[in-house]
Symmetry: C2
Subunit: 146 residues, 2 copies
DNA sequence: AGACTAGTTGCAAACGATTTGCATTTGCAT
DNA sequence: ATGCAAATGCAAATCGTTTGCAACTAGTCT
């Protein structure tokens, strides 16, 4: 059955884009796309696997990894390894942003600073480099002002 | 500029600091400290192991890892996982800096921008967070202007 | 609808990086 | 020198991730 989530998940978009690229939409992939559609957090492979299993227990972790790789190569997903930990994934929806990781909860907050972006470009330029991509992560804890 | 070390290594500094903290200076540790004294690059555990073995073939990889952990906890070393790869280490020598990683060679260039630092603080502040540490990595390739 | 086939799956085994249990050695204070 | 807690080397264990392979499907072509 086709369920429409009012929260903004539109896996159909992805499905058609993938189809257009000649990528098969299989049952596992459909489920994973559905999960990623949430966009609420930055789940790791194990978490995606757990959620997928609740929908279809026959899904394997290997397929989760393979699908994430596929989506990453396709450019639909970004992979992060915050503080050297296991990979966590994030759906790419156009706008670039950086991350503030809550050290207590692991929660990820997104932010963007055009000024910082420009400064990065400038620095790389002065060093004679072209930036391919970059990674800015702030690790912190909620301010506890009493 | 600061002081310069012609041949580079001054492990004695570290040794005394570690001794003062009640940490035993064993043969393997002495060797690893000597290697880290170079500060020329950002070697990974395997590379440190390789270099250590050239000095004393009996050193084990496990000890390299244990020692790096020790030094990291001691605050003498920082651990990086550039682009999700294996850990690479860097001696901490006071001044903070960020990194530009040459995607072709893996070489790491250090830089620092007080402006960026301040902007980061400001952003975290606006989000209600105190920064514990942060990580800014630029990944790029040497500009090939002909 | 049935058949075909290349792409995809699940499983388990393989993998690379790192950690750990344990018996043996060693630093270093006595 | 002696003693003992701490550190070592080794091998096995762990974690996250990838891969080989035989069985299975999605999408296509009748």
């Amino acid at each position: 059955m086709a369920e429409n989530s009012a929260t903004g998940a539109r896996p159909d978009d992805f499905e058609s884009r993938l189809r257009a690229a000649g990528i098969r939409i299989t049952r596992p992939r459909k489920i994973i796309l559905e999960i990623l559609g949430d966009k609420a957090d930055h789940p790791g492979a194990a978490e995606i696997y757990r959620r997928a299993q609740r929908i279809d227990p026959s899904i394997s972790l290997a397929t989760v990894y393979r699908t994430m790789k596929l989506l990453e190569d396709f450019g639909a997903v970004h992979r992060h390894a915050f503080d050297g930990g296991p990979s966590r994934f994030e759906v790419v929806d156009g706008d670039h942003h950086d991350h503030l990781i809550d050290l207590d909860t692991g929660k990820v907050i997104e932010f963007h600073s055009e000024t910082i972006e420009r400064l990065q470009e400038q620095i790389a330029d002065e060093l004679g480099y072209d930036i391919e991509h970059h990674r800015l992560e702030l690790y912190g804890r909620k301010r506890r002002e009493r």
